[in-house]
Amino acid sequence: MLVFTSSRSHLLKSSSVLALLVTFSLAAKATPKIISDEVVQNLSCLAITKNSILHSIKVDEAFSVFRHVPTKNWAFNAGLYNLANCWSLSHAQRLFFYLGRKDLPETPESLSQAANMVRQAIPRNVAGQIQFSGKKEYQPLPWNMNFFNSLESGFTEDVDGLLLDRSFKKDTEAYQVYRFHQILQNIEYISAPRERPADKNAQSYLTLIANLQFNRVTEVLIRPALRAQHVVLAKKYIVRPTGETDFFVYDSNFPDRDNVFTYDPKIRQFTALEIVQPLGVKNPEKPVGVFIVDEGDRDQMLNSLVRFYQKQCED
């Protein structure tokens, strides 16, 4: 609970400290409008593209620990097995990083949209029963303590005449179950040895570097053992003087701080002691498998941001 309280206060503090700065240029028509907010800085309306948005992201603020989902990962029973929510929470964290804006208004619609985006599905009334289907299109959404509290404490949604009780917890768990079944279908994640070969690690490393250099936060599946896998969200990296690269991640087991995994180019292996230790596997200091997952999902978030900023440019 300490973790919970601490990170909540961070989010609250950040809300008051980081004022939303949407700057509208009042200059002559020839001068393009410039947009800044808590995620981007000096984004020119001359060209709103995924690339221009990525380039204008203020990494240290946009992907700060103050904008983490403040809830710690939890376990739940999913029928035949117990699951935790790391994949679902990492997915939610990425959408809040890119799409969350603290000054957007909370409405019943924004709560439903957020729940749909977290769950990646839309509820429908099908012959008097609620069914979830389809993928919810991403949209910018409010991201502040009040909004998260509303989402977490739950709300009732009218789905074409049927009442549906929703909450962050329920929708997060639903998406986690969906992703877990996809893990089972991907033999690579569950059948290979613990350590991945050098070429696979070098490939994951290349993708991570190429992504993070251009502010593309990246979902990473870390596999310390056949039956222990954990998904985190890589945000940035630093290179140690000794040559290893530390990747800083949102880890749903530690929402109040950044966690780290490391690539050692000399042995071409990843290690993730601090991430792996809480999972209770043997020899947590040993190399782990690192898989880049859900690369396409980020594109949809960025496409939504393009529309969001294009509209701001037109206003």
Binding site: T49, K50, N51, L54, P197, A198, D199, A202, Q203, Y205, L206, T207, I209, A210, N211, Q213, F214, R216, Y237, I238, V239, T245, P265, R268, I292, E295, G296, R298, D299, N303
Partner: protein, 134 residues
């Protein structure tokens, strides 16, 4: 400190060069749908400074693709042979070249926004091309 994307690709290329059986064929095929690397086999890599020039272009292409293909979407990177020299140049799609084409890199479909999975596959394709040259 930023890590150079090209150097990271070069590391992977060296591993692949030692054992090309580890190439991920599906990913390479996906990359070949994104980007095409043309090499005229009549010009060997030890001809003049052709190897160095190819490496320079692969560096530019890998770094550009990682950034979203800002340069590659505008045209093709070409090395041409003209008046006894290797000349680096770019050309708009389908434009004529004044010389013999020795080496080129171009996007097969220069769409305005390239999906991330295609970018990753394209970088892999260029890394394999790098492994064939180093």
């Amino acid at each position: 400190m930023n890590i150079n994307v090209f150097n990271t690709a070069l590391e992977l290329a060296k591993i692949i060069q030692e054992d090309d059986s580890i190439i991920e064929k599906d990913l390479l095929l996906a990359g070949e749908d994104v980007i095409e690397v043309f090499q005229d086999p009549n010009f060997k890599n030890n001809f003049q400074n052709l190897k160095e020039q190819k490496m320079n272009f692969l560096r530019l292409a890998i770094e550009d693709l990682a950034e979203g293909a800002v340069v590659l979407r505008k045209g093709e990177l070409c090395l041409i042979f003209r008046e006894g020299k290797i000349v680096p140049t770019t050309r708009d799609h389908d434009a004529e070249l004044n010389g013999i084409l020795m080496f080129s890199i171009h996007l097969k479909n220069p769409e305005p926004e390239i999906p991330q999975e295609k970018i990753n596959a394209g970088i892999y394709k260029l890394t394999i091309a790098l492994a064939e040259i180093i």
